[in-house]
């Protein structure tokens, strides 16, 4: 991937662009990585995790160019500029890399030890080729650790 990493809301309008560039992704396209049933599971996990904890969980799936940790932290900074207490889960299936980034409130509520454990859980699913399951389980584990808002 070249250029900026952008926060995508699928099927977005160009006029909703804010600080990030929002790529225009057609509503139905063969290059969408997840099937509707998988999307629905990720959506539910994201929403429940965020609602329970009051943190804003965010999932990125795509290449993480350069030093993956630094890039993920830049993405986190982008997220933190518009959302309060975010948690970023970035997965790059092509590079087989996974980054969980916390900061501020979310770093206090999700200790690194727990994040590492969630990363381990996600790895176990990813190794079996189950991206959706890994993301869902990882989110659930992070949310459980963060506790109620």
């Amino acid at each position: 991937m070249s250029g900026d990493i952008s926060l995508s809301h699928a099927g977005g309008n160009g006029d909703r662009q804010q600080e990030f560039t929002v790529p225009r992704v057609p509503a139905v396209s063969p290059d969408r990585p997840f099937k509707p049933s998988q999307l629905s599971r990720i959506d539910e996990a994201l929403t429940l995790a965020s609602r329970e904890t009051g943190l804003v969980f965010s999932v990125y799936v795509g290449p993480i160019p350069g030093n993956s940790r630094e890039t993920a932290e830049q993405m986190f900074a982008k997220l933190a500029s518009t959302h309060q207490s975010p948690v970023l889960v970035a997965v790059s299936p092509g590079q087989r890399r996974l980054e969980i980034v916390t900061g501020g409130v979310s770093a206090q509520r999700i200790p690194n030890r727990v994040a590492a454990l969630a990363a381990l859980t996600m790895r176990a699913s990813f190794t079996n080729g189950d991206l959706t399951g890994g993301i869902v389980n990882g989110l659930r584990q992070l949310a459980d650790a963060a506790g109620e808002a």
Partner: protein
């Protein structure tokens, strides 16, 4: 039975049954999108998902794909209503490889 009838019954019918089962077993896999395998390439466009805003209705009320889009769109829209006073820096987390 003539030779043609014999061939039709003893070759044609078994071949037909064989073809039918082949279609049923191989068909669904051929249609389905290729599954992710570790180490395989990932040629999809990057996606970045956000949850629904807190006060949206239950997840089940919304359709799967529409919900996700609405969620991220609303989250972006509502973010301007709650400006974040200080930029938070990344300070924790974990990395992994598989």
């Amino acid at each position: 039975m003539s030779i043609i009838q014999t061939v039709l019954v003893f070759v044609g019918i078994p071949a037909g049954v064989f073809a039918l089962f082949a279609i049923f077993t191989l068909g669904p896999g051929a249609i389905r999108a290729p599954r992710y395998r570790p180490g395989g390439s990932w040629d999809y466009k990057p996606v970045w998902y956000l949850p629904h805003p807190e006060h949206s209705g239950p997840v089940s009320e919304l359709s799967a794909r529409g919900a996700l889009e609405a969620g991220s769109a609303l989250a972006i829209a509502s973010s301007s209503a709650h400006p974040v006073d200080a930029a938070v820096e990344a300070s924790g987390g974990a990395s992994g490889e598989w």
